[in-house]
């Protein structure tokens, strides 16, 4: 949450309190009103990942995404797409689910593939990163 400053102005109301046997005294009660707004952070976009291969194993890494104040996001979701058709594929290995690291690896079927990473934080989801380089797993 960004830091904001709220402002309240006050008006003073004077109330005279007269006692029956003592001199009159004065007391003041005050009330004030003000308004402002508080802006919530927005999720950062993912940063472009880099993919590399070793046999049929693909390792994907990406720079950490951070909020405006420099705080790293809690995790990432990695997606893999067919580089020719754009069809989404199911990721596995350490790339499945929400990842708290900035790299993962999985065994991949033959074909040409590209990856993205998407920052996530609790219920919030950021914008997916640009596409990675294309990696190709040859038929064996």
């Amino acid at each position: 949450v960004r830091k904001l400053t709220g402002v309240i102005s006050v008006l003073v109301v004077c109330v005279l309190v007269a006692g029956s046997t003592s001199p009159a005294t004065a007391a003041w009660s005050i009330s004030g009103l003000g308004s402002a707004g508080a802006g919530a952070d927005a999720m950062p976009a993912g940063l472009a990942p880099t993919a590399s291969t070793a046999g049929s194993t693909v390792t994907v890494g990406w720079p950490a995404a951070t909020f405006a104040d420099g705080t790293a996001v809690a995790g990432y979701v990695v997606n893999r797409y067919n580089a020719s058709t754009g069809a989404s594929a199911t990721v596995g290995g350490s790339c499945g689910g929400v990842i708290t690291n900035t790299s993962c690896s999985e065994a991949v079927a033959p074909g040409s593939w590209i990856y993205t990473d998407t920052p996530v934080q609790l219920n919030w989801t950021g914008t997916a990163s640009p596409l990675s380089n294309t990696i190709t797993i040859p038929l064996t």
């Binding site: 009660s29 003000g34 707004g37 919530a40």
Partner: protein, 83 residues
């Protein structure tokens, strides 16, 4: 969240409480997902001067995705007495 109270009167005052009411940021991002603590204490402010207190603003961990970048309206009310 820093709250600054201006005393526009010609007498000194002591503010004893400041309450913040949070409004909905949107239909999908309700006020219930944002909290601001209440100030209670003794904040002395001379005539025609200002003083500040800090209160804590917190967003719920269950805040939905729609709360990204949302702006919550905040309404303040304060009570006090003449110093």
């Amino acid at each position: 969240l820093v709250l600054t109270v201006f005393n526009q009167s010609k007498v000194g005052i002591t503010v004893t409480s400041i309450t913040t009411t949070v409004g909905n940021a949107s239909a999908a991002c309700p006020a219930a997902d944002f909290y601001v603590t209440r100030f209670t204490g003794s904040l002395a402010i001379p005539a025609f001067h200002a003083a500040s207190v800090t209160v804590v603003a917190t967003m719920s961990h269950s805040a939905p995705d729609a709360c990204q970048g949302a702006v919550f309206p905040l309404y303040y009310s304060g009570l006090g007495h003449g110093s």
